[in-house]
Every structure is written in structure tokens, then in C-alpha cells.
Subunit: 202 residues, 4 copies
DNA sequence: AATGAATGAGCATTCATTCAT
DNA sequence: TATGAATGAATGCTCATTCAT
């Protein structure tokens, strides 16, 4: 009693990707051997080359995969509505900081890619964050109503949010040695989020 | 006319460090072989082990080195005085973005360290940013005079500045594929700096 | 409008052989992968095993194939007749040198086979050169008439012709580095052919 | 009690070359793995790269080595003198056929090189056969005395001798299946040598 | 007849590190 | 202090061959 052939192949390919995301995010492109990915996926090494062509291509596919995964976690932005625009920034900051905490593969793969990729990663261009236009609409509404600062563009707004949440996770090791360590305890984080969110309120 | 033996050893050790900073920052701990560092420093490989013990220790020394280097570039904050507190944030943002552009080894080594270091990098603790207390004084003065927002702590202030400048450089590759590419042209950057600085003004 | 199934199989088998001859002659038994033959023949790899059993057997079939091909090119020896026996050797030398130039797969496969084959290549025994007896008759006639040297047997005669023409092509790379390079220009070749042919004339 | 370091290294390098000549001549560039050479030479694989750089370069060095070896076996041409010019060709033919029999690595490496080398093997240019000018002198003398055919140039003469002796060894496998098998028995060979030598006598 | 999936061994080359001088 | 020699384990990738459909 065997699996239908396409499904089996599909699962093999999937298993490779899952293992690769996990390993690449931890150790980076150069830190992981194809052998180890194959072992982790319980797959013959050759399958990796049959399905992905090269280690580098596999790495890029991992990036695409993690972006899609994280994108699909953002449906809950619909709890931000016209009625609680004042808390929008708090919600977004908390959301992204949480994402980076719960899906560390996200910031890690991004960081590895920025360091190790010589290529232009054009495959990512296709994965536009679908929430952005929705958030933009809300942001404009907030400005109109005088809740948010209309002299600050949405581009700057979202950039700051991304920057703060990414930086907070991605630079823990160095930051906790160079800035105050309190930042990484619950109280410090709350203060950071609250005060940063305040920056955008009128 | 030969160099005294201690001085010669010192220069050898130094040459190793300089080459290592350059190579590690570009290719990371795993991306660089000891052979290549030795070749770049025009030094026998064994010298590296004699002076630094292991590749990992050498990498950590590179981090310390780059932090010290960058710290020494910050003297010029003395052009921020009580008379131009309104432009303080613009100056700081521009300064750090410039540093990251001119000394890419800085953010790169930091990024590698955050990804690759399992250790706690305690050696960095010693290198407190000596400018911070000076900037803190200025910031408090700005708040008192009503130029800056007194409900925002200095911790949050400096964190945001570090985050924005680091993120801007370190995530170029992925950002230019996922956010607007205009960000990385002159006009986009000016807008980002100006609007971000505005956030901190009352 | 589909091909009858047997004919289709026949063509598949043929396509494999043609691609294999081309690749094996260029890169040898060890230099060619079954995958590449399959790709060149636009055939599933498994077909090769179905039709030929193994890579080695396929290689031997290529040898047989090229011998048959070259044999079929020799009909034109009928332009050697009793009336121009004096030019017989010139014609033969030119002919074989031309063959080796135009069908390099011939000498190459022969050379590979002599180097790589541990087996005795008995399959080749069946392919006797059908021109040989015809040429033998002409040679004897030439001897009788005093045009050729009757103290030289036909075996020696034909061996010399094969040797010179084969060696000329098959050792170009090393010869042009160890003997005179002029050999491989038009003039040098003409001289070689003319003088060698002269050896056999009385 | 250890060997002086340079001598030890020299022997290591030598051992690699000897093993490589033996293996490459038998199985060709593609048929031999660096691992096997290292094992045969009882040497760490890395040494091969330290001393020769790559498998290809090592192969080329093997060619150079075998040419030098064979060249050094030719001193005995001094048994050809002005007194036995009539037997010169017999002696040369026997000599080279013997060389190819006793040092099969010679013709085999040459054959592999002609098949596998994409490069131009310019390293061989340096190793001009030092006997050639000596033989040329004798040949001219033979012509003057009316023993040899003055209408045949030395170039053609030596080419024929090289061709026959090489072809006789290098094409055994295919020849014994396509021409008469008697060639490769003692009697057949004697006849071939005697009759071929006769071609060059007046 | 034909195909994609799968495998285990092998490949050329490089690595971090230690040894001997 | 400085160096070349040496090592054993990886590394990314390919191979000939077989299996399942």
C-alpha cells in the first residue's frame, strides 16, 4: 500500500524545505551542509538537487517560504479598525515583536540573506506584504481624524515599526552588551513599545 | 636595520587582525578560512593560532576592534550644543547612517555576531559608548526647554535612532525587494531622516 | 497520427546510440554520464538500461556502430583501378587521413576502446573490412607489374597505411609539441603523404 | 631520528608522482580519483593539492615525467654508427616497439592526453627529443652513401617509425579484431619490422 | 513502452588544526 | 618568532543503477 507518486514526491520536497528553513535560519547558508539538511529531512541528498538544483537556490526558496508564512499570520490586523486607531501603533509594534520572537527563523533568514546573498533575491519581490495597503488606509484615516501626525508619511511610519521590531530581536546579543539590559525584560519592553507608539500620536 | 623583535611580533599580530576584520565582515565566520586570513595578512597560518588560539577567538577580537574603531569616530558630537538642540536628531540619524555606510564592517560584524555567536560576547561589555552620557545630557536639556518630548525617555530615543540607522543599512537587500525601492535613493533617505527626526520634536 | 509502437521503440533505441557515439567519442566512457546521454537523446534514462543493459555495453555498441559507418564510406575505392596503381598509396593515405579528420569519432572511439576496454571487444571481429580483399588484389597486380615492391607483403603495406593515417590524427596534441608543427599544415601533410607513398614504389 | 625536512617533502612529492603515473596510465585522468592516488602513494590527499595544485596539473606533470623517463632510455642509440647504417631502421623500430611494450605508461599517457586534454600541453614543448638531431645526422650520412633513400626527408622517416611503433602497441585491442592476429605473434612482428625497415632502403 | 522517484557510493577540493624544524 | 609539512574530516555536487507507477 503505497502513496500516490505525486503526493509522495510533494511531501519529500516539502520535508526538505522545512528542514532547510530550520537549519539555515540557525546556522546560515555557509553553516549548513547539504548532507545535514538531507539527514534532517530523512531524504537522500540527491533529492535536494533534483528538486532545488543547488544549495543556494534552496536557501532562496527558504526565504520565500518564511515570508509567505509570516504574511499569512497577519490576517489578525483586522482587529485594528476605525474605532481604535489610537492603539494601532501599539498593536503593530507588539505584533511584529511577537512575530520575531515566535518565528525567529524570519529575522534570522532575513539577516543571513542580507549578509550572505550576493544575488539580488528578486524572488522576494513577488511577495508584497498584502497588509500594507490595508494599514495605509487606516493610517490615512488616523491622520484625517487628527489622531496621527499627518506630517509623517506612511512609508516612514511603517519603516520605523519594522526597524524597531527587527532591531529589538536581531541585535539582542550585541545590544544587551552595549545598551541597557533592562530593555530585554518585560518592563523595559513595555516602556519601549508604549513610548515609541506615542511618537506617532499627535 | 631590523625591527626590534617585540615590535615585529606586534605588527604581525596587528596585520592578522586587520585582515580578519576585512574578511570576516564580508564573509562571516564560516565563510572565511584561516588560510585566507593568513594569506591576506601575509603571515604563516600557524601565527594565527599562536596569537589568537582559534578562529572563533579571532572573530571575537574583530568585533571588539570594530567597536573601538567606531567609538573613536564619535568625537564630533560636540557640534551638537545647547544652541541647535532642534537639529540633534537629524544630526544623530545622519551620523549613524553615514557610519554604517562608510564602515560597513561595523554593522556586518554585528549582524554576523548576533547570528553566529553562541557565546555571550561579554568582551563587548567593557566598551560602553562613551558618547551616550553626553547625548543624554543634551536630550534632557531639550526636554526641559520644550524642544523635545519629555514623555519619551532617552533610552527609547537612542534605541529608535540606532534601530533606524542599523536597519536601513543592514536590510537593504531584503527591504529593496519588499518595501519601496525609493528608500535607497537620496530623496527617499532625506525624507526618512527628516520625518523620523520630526517624531521626536514637540 | 501516431507511429506504430515497434517503430517508435526502434527510433528511441537509435537516438540513444547516436547520442552515445557523439558523447563517448568526445569524452570517453568515464567522461560521460548516463544522464547526459539520456538528455542528449531526449529519452528517459531508464530506456538506456532497458535497451542496452549497461553503460559499458552501450559503449561497445557505439564502437560497432562507428566501424560499420566508416566501412560504408569506403565504396569509393573503386576509383583505384589497374590503370592508376602507381597512385594507389597516395589515394589510400589521403582517404584514411580524410576519414579520421571528417569522422573523428572513429579514431577517438578506437583510442578510448584500446585504453579503457578490459574486455576483448570480440564483437568487432565480425566487422571485417570488406575492402581489404579488393585492395589486396590490386596490390598483388601492382607488384607483378613492377610498380610496387614485391618484397613487401600486403599485410605490412596496409598496416603502414593505417598506422600513418591514424597516428597523424590521433597524436596531434602531443606530436605538435614534440615534433615539428609544420606537419599539421597543408604543405607538411602533402609532403608526408607524397614521400610516404613513395616508399612503396619501386 | 627523522629525515631532514626538505628531503622528506621531496620524497613525498616523488611518491605522489610515481603513483599518479601508474594509475593515470592505466585508467586515464577521469578514471582515477585523487583519493586513489593518495592511497597508492600512502600520502594525505591534501599533500597532492599542496604540491600539484589540481588533479589536472598532476596529470600534466605525469606526462612530462614519462617523456623524460623515455628520453633517458635512448642513450643506447650510440650503438648505431656509420658502420651499420643499413640496420639503423631495424634498430629504431625494434627500440621503440620495445619501449612501448616495456613502458606501456608511455603510449597510454600519450593516448589519454590526446583524448582527454583540452589544454595545449605546452609543457611538453620543452622536452625536445635530444636524440633526434643525432639520428638526423646519421640519416643524412646514409642518404649520401646511397644506403637510404635521399628522396625521403628525415621528418617523414621518423614520423613513419613513430607511427608504426606507436600504432602497433596502442591499437592492439582493435587491430587484433580487425586485421590479422598473426601480427601480434613473434613471427608476424619480425616480418613487419623487417619489411618496414626495407621500405627505407634503396 | 515510458517515466519520475529514489539510492548509496564516489568525486575534486577545502577545512581547522597540529607537528616538526 | 616563524615556517612548511601533515592530517582527518567535511563540503557541494554527480554517478550508475534500481524501483514503482
Amino acid at each position: 500500500m503505497v502513496m500516490p507518486i505525486q503526493r509522495r514526491a510533494f511531501e519529500t520536497k516539502r520535508r526538505i524545505l522545512v528542514s532547510a528553513v530550520s537549519l539555515f535560519s540557525r546556522y546560515g547558508l555557509n553553516g549548513v551542509s547539504v548532507d545535514k539538511i538531507a539527514a534532517a529531512a530523512q531524504v537522500n541528498k540527491q533529492r535536494i538537487y533534483a528538486y532545488y538544483g543547488s544549495k543556494t537556490v534552496l536557501f532562496e526558496q527558504c526565504l520565500v517560504q518564511i515570508f509567505e508564512e509570516v504574511n499569512s499570520l497577519e490576517d489578525n490586523f483586522h482587529d485594528i479598525t476605525r474605532d481604535n486607531l489610537g492603539e494601532m501603533t501599539d498593536i503593530l509594534l507588539s505584533h511584529y515583536i511577537n512575530i520575531h520572537r515566535q518565528v525567529p527563523a524570519f529575522w534570522r533568514l532575513i539577516a543571513w540573506a542580507n549578509l550572505e546573498s550576493s544575488s539580488s533575491l528578486e524572488k522576494l519581490s513577488g511577495i508584497k506584504n498584502k497588509s500594507l495597503s490595508y494599514l495605509n488606509d487606516l493610517y490615512q484615516e488616523g491622520c484625517r481624524r487628527g489622531i496621527l501626525r499627518s506630517e509623517v508619511s506612511f512609508d516612514t511610519y511603517i519603516f520605523n515599526i519594522f526597524a524597531v521590531s527587527f532591531f529589538y530581536q536581531a541585535n539582542r546579543v550585541t545590544l544587551s552588551n552595549t545598551l541597557s539590559r533592562g530593555l530585554f525584560e518585560q518592563e523595559g519592553l513595555s516602556k519601549l513599545i508604549h513610548e515609541t507608539a506615542g511618537l506617532f500620536k499627535k
